[in-house]
């Protein structure tokens, strides 16, 4: 009798646990939590020698586009690629060696400072490190 009861408890408990294991993921899937934006602290932006001198490239830094520039000196710099005027994507101009926003002809210098046109503020500067020929772009300190 005692053995039978023990088995019943094991079976009942096991069944409940099984139901839980089935319905919990179902419920979680049907009602997904609001996920905060993935907090990206740094990204690998590819081999440094693949980025040509006097050229720029847009990379994804989490949800933000970042403009990577390799200057004539070989130095690599990274800036927020979102124009501070109306959020258009800026690009590197090889002819004038400046950062340019095509929407309203705004210009920034290669330190990210707004120098002409409507942009009201400088671009955020992203720290860049090159480790074993790999470009590592990090989150600016002011963004926490």
């Amino acid at each position: 009798m005692k053995r039978n009861r023990f088995l019943n408890i094991i079976l009942g408990g096991g069944t409940l646990a099984w139901l839980g294991s089935i319905f919990y993921p179902v419920f979680s899937f049907l009602n997904p939590p609001k996920r905060p934006e993935a907090n990206v602290h740094s990204v690998k932006a590819g081999p440094a020698d693949k980025l040509a001198v006097n050229s720029g490239e847009i990379i994804k830094f989490g949800r933000r586009p970042v403009l990577l520039i390799r200057m004539d000196t070989g130095e690599v710099r990274a800036f927020s690629a979102t124009c501070t005027h109306l959020d258009c994507i800026v690009q590197y101009r090889q002819d004038s060696k400046q950062i340019w926003c095509a929407c309203h002809n705004g210009y920034y210098d290669l330190r990210g400072r707004n120098i002409s046109g409507p942009p009201p503020r400088p671009l955020d500067v992203y720290p860049v490190n090159i480790v074993n020929n790999e470009i590592i772009v990090s989150k600016p300190k002011q963004m926490g």
Binding site: F29, P33, R35, P65, C103
Partner: protein, 430 residues
């Protein structure tokens, strides 16, 4: 041995430098305040006859230029008659008409000014002479603004200092002190509601509400020391200083030439001046609320162009809104919306470019950009649909797998019971 002597000498020299530096610091700390050594300040503070607007943070005071720096006299002499005598170089309070020359004595002298700031401008007095204020002052009108009207008399701070009357965020109020006073401005017969209009404008909102010092204040369009209203020919250039594309696009149109002939202000005719509202797509088109309808009549070529341009913009804006809603749905379902967001940024960029391209009044150029934007929106919508379908496929898949597992377990249970029954019946037979 020689090295040891050398090291000892260096240590002694370093100690001597440290002692001298500390003594210097001590001496600086022990320096009596200017109010005790400067007889002008000493007496005027004691007698409580300081100028009403006096502030101890005045840039001149900070640089060691006390009262005598501007008013002359001998600040070392405690005899009032001697120290404030012409012999001591005392010039007293200048007449308002003399103030630009009074300040210009130093501020126009680069040899003097570069002692304090090597890159400082020294053309303020000259520019002032070319301003409306300066021209009227020359003609004897002492109601106009002089240096002290904007900079204050005795609490002057650099324009970069947020406490300064000429700091970007404070400029509109500084100008409004006179320009907003209807009584004061009566004799000039000009409007006095510029500040009220500016506050509501897109520039005013950015500057005064969002505290964006990159937004233009009065001086960015009118000039500061050489302030005057921009003329018909220069108004596009004034706006074009920042809005370069808009100016270049408009300058190449037939409308710009027509405006010039009719002496109409380029940008101002559609956007206004002080009250420049945030531009919207409603400004263009053939309905009565559009600015185009103010000049164009139903059926004329400009009217039809405006209609086409508005339709293009509306179509793209609606497609962008639809794609944005779908991206939000993807996000709320917990699916990956990162790529969609990047595509939508490009779509938004096409919309922004198209809105700028409006200033060419060229339907083909605008259509090229709106088509580009529509393609991006469609791409974003396709990506969003893929994500939403993936969400439902996963949900249905989970339901199906749960059903199958449950079915298997039930079957297993029945099978076990069947085996048990068989075992019992076999045992019974035995």
């Amino acid at each position: 041995m020689k090295n040891q002597n050398h090291a000892s000498f260096l240590c002694l020299a370093a100690m001597a430098v440290l002692v001298l530096w500390a003594a210097g610091l001590r001496a600086a700390e022990d320096d009596p305040p200017l109010s005790e050594t400067d007889q002008c300040l000493s007496c005027h503070l004691d007698d409580d006859v300081m100028p009403q607007d006096y502030g101890e943070h005045d840039i001149h005071m900070q640089k060691g230029l006390s009262c005598a720096g501007c008013h002359g006299g001998d600040p070392a002499n405690d005899d009032m008659d001697d120290s404030m005598s012409p012999a001591a170089g005392y010039v007293g309070i200048p007449d308002k008409k003399d103030i630009p020359r009074f300040c210009g004595k130093c501020h126009s002298d680069i040899d003097f000014m570069r002692q304090y700031q090597p890159a400082i401008q020294t053309d303020q007095a000259e520019q002032y002479g070319h301003s409306v204020h300066g021209a009227k002052l020359m003609r004897g009108d002492t109601s106009v603004a002089v240096c002290t009207s904007c900079h204050s008399g005795h609490n002057i701070m650099p324009a970069s200092d947020p406490r300064s009357t000429v700091y970007a965020l404070n400029v509109p109020e500084t100008c409004n002190k006179c320009h907003g006073d209807a009584q004061y401005m009566k004799k000039y017969d000009i409007p006095t509601d510029q500040y009220e209009k500016f506050k509501k404008s897109v520039h005013g909102q950015a500057l005064l509400e969002e505290q964006d010092t990159g937004a233009p204040a009065c001086n960015d369009c009118h000039g500061n020391h050489g302030a005057m209203p921009p003329g018909i020919t220069s108004i596009s250039h004034v706006c074009g200083t920042c809005h370069i594309n808009n100016m270049e696009y408009f300058a190449g149109t037939k409308m710009a030439a027509g405006f010039k002939k009719k002496k109409l202000h380029g940008c101002e005719e559609c956007h206004g001046n002080h009250e420049v509202p945030k531009p919207s797509d409603k400004m263009i088109g053939d309905d009565k609320s559009s600015v185009c309808a103010q000049c164009h009549e139903s059926g004329d070529k400009g009217f039809l162009t405006a209609r086409v341009l508005r339709t293009r913009l509306d179509t793209l804006a609606a497609a962008y809104r639809k794609a944005s809603v779908m991206k939000e749905r993807v996000n709320s379902l917990g699916m990956d919306d990162l790529d969609i967001e990047f595509i939508l940024q490009e779509a938004k960029q096409s919309l922004t470019k198209a809105r700028t391209m409006i200033h060419t009044f060229d339907t083909l150029k605008v259509s090229a950009l709106t088509t580009e934007g529509l393609v991006k929106n469609q791409q974003a919508i396709r990506e969003a649909r893929v994500q939403i379908e993936a969400y439902y496929i996963r949900r249905k898949g989970l339901g199906a797998s749960t059903f199958i597992i449950t079915l298997l377990i039930v079957a297993l249970y029945l099978k076990i019971r069947e085996i048990e029954r068989r075992q019992k019946s076999t045992t019974g037979e035995v």
